[in-house]
């Protein structure tokens, strides 16, 4: 059975709303899409410290589920081995939050199929769905770049904008 490695943040878990509201709280005004398009919110001038929230307990706990991801992953699991592979290791405070979040929203994914790592080049799979080009660069299989504000100018990988695109991609594989 072929294997798909699926990232968490910005692929199944939506971190953007939290960053946008942190920015608004900090700078007293909401961001418009044109301002953060092409980068991450914490890459905006004066906003680097916002990234520190990733180290706080609870940050990952209440993230919204990216629409369609639950249904599509359940479907994919009929034909593929699905692993959730998240670069959690930079954030000690995230481990339990991320694990609990998966138990809550993706209870059908077994703990054996969850990976917390740092450098994803250690992952062996046939497909990888990720929003970071650097995770796909050294991947041996087929990489799918999940669209996020920070990767919109990236052109090296097959792009998917949402879970409908992912469904269509794997239907076309016919495996």
């Amino acid at each position: 059975m072929q294997r798909i490695a699926i990232d968490m943040d910005e692929v199944i878990a939506d971190v953007r709303p939290k960053f946008l509201s942190l920015y608004e709280r900090e700078f007293g005004r909401p961001l418009v899409k044109e301002e953060y398009w092409g980068k991450k919110v914490y890459q905006l001038p004066g906003a680097a410290h916002i990234r520190e929230c990733l180290h706080e307990k609870g940050f990952f706990a209440g993230l919204p589920v990216i629409p369609g991801s639950q249904e599509c992953i359940r479907e994919l699991m009929e034909r593929y081995e699905v692993f959730i592979v998240t670069a959690a290791m930079e954030f000690r405070a995230s481990f339990e939050d991320k694990f609990d979040w998966l138990q809550e929203h993706f209870p059908f994914i077994h703990w054996k199929n969850i990976v917390f790592c740092g450098d994803k080049s250690i992952i062996s799979a046939n497909y990888m769905i990720d929003d970071h080009a650097f995770n796909l660069e050294h991947f041996q299989g087929k990489g799918l770049l999940y669209t996020a504000s920070h990767n919109v100018h990236e052109t090296r990988f097959t792009r998917v904008d949402n879970w409908e695109d992912i469904r269509a991609f794997f239907r076309a594989q016919g495996a």
Copy 2:
């Protein structure tokens, strides 16, 4: 650079003393080696419930370091990419303990090179050092079986009894 994936429990972190003392506390007498040789302590008659301690916060925090592992890993890092790959995912309470233990005893290993997983068949490396034969069975590279009481009857893999054996093995590789 070739890559070595190294397990934690019973390879760099010694869990056996804790299980032996739990058994003694529970059954009122110390175990002798002949009793647990060939199995795990919690596979002895009436002792299955001892395994539950793996789910307790703090279990992994105070484990002794397996002698020679720190020095040898530091040496190996001069010639290889070293990853610590531990099947932590079954034990939610172990994540922070394991991470802190690594920071304390192996501060020279970057968080990028730490992996918490379940099924290790997702790991891509050239070598894997592990005490569980089932982790080596589906490994694409060269597996080294680190001797532990529960694997002494296993004959399918190159066996290493201690970190001196590991040093000798990699010296012989000449890479």
